[in-house]
């Protein structure tokens, strides 16, 4: 299915992530970051602190916390819409709005993946993921909005409970045809546009079981994911929403 | 005369050229008791010389200004300033407050804070002349 070209695609961020089975050290990441300088002039060192709290049930009262810290590099274009994030075990390409279309985004990924491999060399890949975050801004014409007119993914509640003021839903589905897992999230978010209500629609499609290791298979997978992503998106929005993307 | 930096200049469409002054250029800082200006007529010489000397005085008091750059000086007639303020029901006092490096330094006192229509009137009606900082050369030792 070819990508439908909307005049105002609701994409706020598109991400391609390659995750590795074994991490690189800080020095290697810092050096690799330098290779991206001409495309992403701005560099920021970043530290990712992961805190996991274990709150046991039952008779135990002891709470445990684990802190995992990893250092990486974030590089961005001057207008802050194109980013590359280099972590010890992740290579991430991000595109903020305005979305330039899959062809341009994919070409950027290919270019940067080549740069990364030239600097780092081969590392076993443990996960390949693509994420598209959309925000659908719906003009408010009255006190209530029938979001079902715009979205096919939403929280369904009995009418007798009355109107909903907020919701968030998440679902995980297998995409067996391409051996991936789809995580779909949607919900109401604060709108940055006056007199609008905004809904996020977030797709994360990833392959974790036997992900491809060579470039041709990686590129094929990404293109397959893109096709699936488009089908899922078109399935989850209505014609009325499409009219918002093509004013 | 008052120094107005690029951020407080009024620009044309697309922000390319400075065409005047924003009202905020005449807004009192919270810590200020009066609006800092320079009295051009304080010094000797013709008008061009007085303007130049005034700029030099301001630069001496505020070395960060220097030569070049995109800032401007707003020039207004004292009588006109008072008239504009009076029309907005404000009676200001303009006092000479010489400083060691800037003998022409003066202050416009009793300007109300946050009266945007008055500030707009000052920007539009009172301070009607603009001189570019870059048009005034750096002072050479022994010039003044």
């Amino acid at each position: 299915m070819s990508e439908q070209a909307y005049k105002q695609p609701p994409i706020t961020e598109a991400v391609i992530e390659i995750r590795f089975a074994t991490p690189n050290d800080d020095a290697t990441i810092a050096k690799a970051s330098g290779d991206f300088k001409s495309h992403y002039p701005q560099e920021d060192a970043a530290t990712n602190v992961a805190i996991q709290l274990y709150l046991p049930t039952g008779m135990e009262i002891k709470t445990m916390a684990q802190t995992l810290e990893k250092k990486g590099r974030r590089r961005s274009s001057m207008d802050q819409t194109q980013l590359v994030l280099l972590w010890p075990d992740n290579f991430v390409i991000s595109q903020l709005a305005p979305y330039p279309g899959w062809d341009a985004f994919f070409e950027r990924f290919r270019r940067d993946w080549e740069i990364w491999k030239r600097g780092i060399g081969y590392k076993k890949i443990s996960r390949i993921g693509v994420r598209y975050i959309n925000r659908i801004d719906i003009p408010l014409s009255g006190p209530l909005l029938e979001y079902e007119r715009f979205l096919n993914i939403y929280a369904y509640l009995p009418e007798s409970l009355g109107p909903v003021s907020s919701y968030a839903v998440q679902a995980q589905l297998p995409l067996q045809e391409i051996g991936c897992k789809l995580t779909l999230s949607s919900g109401l978010v604060p709108s940055p546009v006056l007199r609008h209500v905004s809904f996020v629609f977030d797709q994360d499609i990833a392959k974790e079981e036997t992900p491809p290791q060579n470039d041709d298979e990686i590129y094929n997978l990404l293109n397959e994911i893109r096709v699936k992503k488009n089908i899922v998106f078109e399935t989850c929005v209505t014609d009325e929403a499409r009219r918002l993307f093509n004013p | 005369m008052r120094h107005v930096k690029w951020t407080l200049l009024r620009k044309d469409d697309d922000g390319i050229n400075a065409i005047g002054f924003l009202p905020q250029a005449f807004e009192l800082d919270p810590k200020d008791e009066y609006l800092s200006v320079n009295w051009i007529e304080h010094g000797p010489g013709d008008r061009v010389t007085r303007i130049r000397d005034s700029v030099w005085g301001i630069r001496k008091a505020r070395p960060s200004i220097g030569g070049g750059g995109k800032s401007r000086y707003a020039i207004g007639n004292v009588g006109k300033v008072k008239e504009v303020c009076l029309r907005n029901s404000v009676r200001v006092r303009i006092t000479h407050e010489p400083e060691k490096n800037n003998l022409g330094h003066s202050g416009i006192r009793r300007l109300p804070r946050e009266d945007l229509t008055l500030l707009e009137a000052l920007a539009d009606d009172a301070f009607t002349e603009m001189v570019a900082n870059s048009d005034i050369p750096l002072e050479q030792p022994g010039t003044s």
Partner: protein
């Protein structure tokens, strides 16, 4: 510059660099997963002037990306060019404040709603509030964008050589309604610049 990303999310989805991504994870976290999940934006720990200006510009450019689908490319480009000019380190004075994110958010809301054809000249108040100014002949409209969705505006309109000046301060959601009696098309529309006589 060192930046800190605090990430308490279980790493089973693709990392997002955007503000919206972080917000989504917070919302999903509220669905009741066992581990505490949230992503917080980066925190700057250095404060040299140039880095401070660069950081401020980066933040507002990322903020622009949130509504970039509602802005045309030329508008965005000019906006960034003017913002860069307002934060030129060569013109900067130590007690100046770079543009505040909260002020810029108010500006974006106003611009997306008004959709002016004519791009304003931008300024920056001492407190870091963005100012947008339109000028048509002798007529002037100046809007200062404050935090918390507030705006402060003043206009001068000339009628037979006499100025009428009006000022106001209100929520940005009421700006269009408040400006309506003063023919804002005079400033916002391209035709008005050349066709309407100067006041």
């Amino acid at each position: 510059m060192t930046e800190l990303i605090v990430n308490t999310r279980a790493a089973n989805t693709v990392l997002s660099s955007s503000i919206l991504g972080a917000d989504i994870v917070r919302q999903i976290g509220k669905l009741g997963s066992k581990s505490s999940t949230s992503e917080i934006n980066i925190i700057s720990t250095d404060n040299a002037v140039e880095e401070r200006l660069f950081d401020a510009l980066s933040r507002v450019k990322r903020l622009t990306a949130m509504v970039a689908m509602h802005l045309d490319a030329a508008w965005r480009q000019n906006l960034f060019s003017q913002l860069d000019g307002l934060h030129d380190p060569a013109e900067w004075e130590l007690d100046d404040e770079p543009v505040k994110e909260s002020s810029f958010a108010t500006f974006l809301k106003a611009i997306v709603e008004i959709r002016p054809e004519r791009r304003p000249g931008l300024g920056l108040s001492q407190a870091g509030h963005l100012i947008a100014a339109w000028t048509t002949g002798r007529d002037r409209l100046t809007i200062e964008f404050l935090p918390n969705d507030q705006v402060r505006w003043v206009l001068s309109r000339y009628y037979d050589d006499e100025p009428v000046r009006i000022a106001g301060q209100m929520a940005v959601s009421r700006l269009v309604e408040q400006l309506a009696p003063y023919e804002p098309a005079r400033w916002f529309c391209r035709e008005s610049k050349s066709d309407l006589p100067a006041g």
